[in-house]
């Protein structure tokens, strides 16, 4: 059995940052494994621990810098990684359809039994790449799942899709399929020291879109990026922690919001 996990690196801005043109200046950004993909990796590794002969392969569309993040996934139990990149991809906002076409090229090469993807990337938050990949690669799918039960003999999986307001949809999905993994589905492990050491030896292959036979161009471009105007009129309590706490407590009492 082979599981493909899509893994993306996300950028998180510092509390204070500056925007240059249409992007946040790099010195204010910290890069990390996308939170949702951390859960997707864990889910795949758990399946590989439950069944014999399971290979977990990760795929990332991203520049060389992303290899640090990919190594994190390898350290947590991914067996082998693929990174797809071409400098032409670096200029614009990569739309989810374009990313999906590239990932679909890898699906075609690897022919996984199923794919785990994250519900969303923390920075771009399109929430769309997994389902777009399924359609592009001709796979079935289920979006936003918080429970996954594999039935290898039936060639299907039973999942729970987490809808709004605490409602869960119970659904059976025919394999091969893409599942977009929601946080909380499992407890992602920390990489062990041994895992981190072993990750250095694991294969991390780089492919270009041309290698995959995929010819893509983003259909989106970011024309402006700014810190939104806060239309709100927040009243700030200022001073030391003791002072602000006293002001807030006095306010709450005055408003008769709190009895104590």
């Amino acid at each position: 059995m082979k599981i493909l996990v899509t893994v993306t690196e996300v950028a998180e801005p510092d509390d204070e940052f500056e925007i240059q043109g249409q992007s946040i200046e790099d010195r204010y950004l910290t890069y990390d494994l996308n939170e949702w993909d951390d859960y997707a990796v864990e889910e795949a590794v758990q399946v590989s621990e439950e069944y014999d002969d399971v290979e977990v392969v990760s795929v990332t569309v991203g520049p060389e810098r992303a290899e640090e993040t990919v190594r994190q996934a390898l350290a947590k139990g991914v067996d082998r990684a693929i990174r797809v990149w071409d400098d032409d991809l670096g200029g614009d906002l990569l739309d989810p359809g374009t990313t999906a076409e590239l990932l679909a090229g890898v699906v075609e090469e690897e022919e996984p039994d199923f794919v785990f993807s994250g519900v969303q990337s923390g920075d771009m938050a399109f929430g769309a790449t997994g389902v777009a990949l399924a359609e592009a690669a001709g796979l079935e799918w289920a979006a936003v799942i918080n429970d996954f039960e594999l039935d290898p003999d039936a060639g299907s999986a039973s999942v729970r899709r987490e809808l709004e307001g605490g409602v869960e949809e119970l659904t059976d999905v025919a394999l091969p399929a893409v599942f977009t993994i929601q946080t909380g589905i499992n407890e992602p492990r920390y990489a062990s020291l041994r895992g981190i050491r072993r990750a250095q030896q694991k294969p991390l292959d780089v492919e270009t879109p041309t290698d995959l036979g995929v010819n893509v161009e983003s259909t989106l471009s970011l024309s402006s990026l700014e810190v939104p105007e806060t239309g709100s009129d927040v009243t700030y309590f200022e001073g030391s922690a003791d002072e602000t706490a006293a002001e807030l407590a006095a306010f709450l009492r005055e408003q008769k919001r709190v009895e104590a």
Binding site: G97, A125, A132, G165, E169, L225, P228, A245
Partner: protein, 314 residues
Amino acid sequence: MSDVLAVAEHRRGELREVSHEVLTAGAELGAGELHLAVIGGDVERFADELDRGAVDTIHTVAEGEEFNHGVYVQALEQVAEAVDPTYVVTPNSVNGLDYAPAVAESLDMSLVTDAVGVDTGGGLTVTREFYGGKTEGEVDVFDDRAVVTIREGEWDAPAGAAGASIQAFDADIDETALGTTVNGFEEAGSGDVDITEADVLVSVGRGIDEEDNIPLIEELADAMGATLSSSRPIVDNGWLPQDRQVGQSGKKVTPDVYIAIGISGAVQHVAGMKGADTIIAINTDPGAPIFDIADYGIVDDLFDVVPALTEQFA
């Protein structure tokens, strides 16, 4: 002139509010014909309810009771073939994101999700957030045709009856191609505390750092006679039970006072608490989106402020 196809959403016999909002966003996207697709469930009742605003034609596809993405994708491919829309507009809901990307891919249209604003003067430009709501960007769409998913609650429901033409659309659904079977629904279990009933909620987020620090917030809630709630990561980590979670996939709360401590104010969290009367935020990051909706704020370390506040009520 651009024709637009909007898509309604319903669940367990009820239309979801966003079904009205797609009509308003759809009218903004195109000055041509505004179509609405209503797929599955009690389509005639839904069509009557949605005959509002600027909608010209409502296509009802009587196919199944509940949402099945395979049915939606096939039906929308066929409706789109009939009406040839420039833009397709759908909810950015959990189900919207279960079919819209596939529809875009299959119709070879560009896709922009989670729109909070649209502009069509000179091609399509979509306003959406990036980096967890810390920035907002304008996205130019190069393709002539696009699928746009809209954030719930950003557009008003249209006013006034439309007198649309309501037409039964005879979709040809290939049942053998449906790869998913929906077996039913379950409500996440509820425990002994109902946070939707509380007058004052003290709510804790990832800023608390570790499970061992949760008692700090519990003590504050106790001292104030308030109820403890949280953002999602706290529940994901198993530090508090699911019934304490506020937000899109948790509970919608409307207390008199909501104190958000170490919570950034992600859209899915805000969806559950923006109806609170007075919102107070304690956060080290002055740029945290929670301050966009807060009435009162303290920009400081919760580990300093919370114990001091507890002291005030001791």
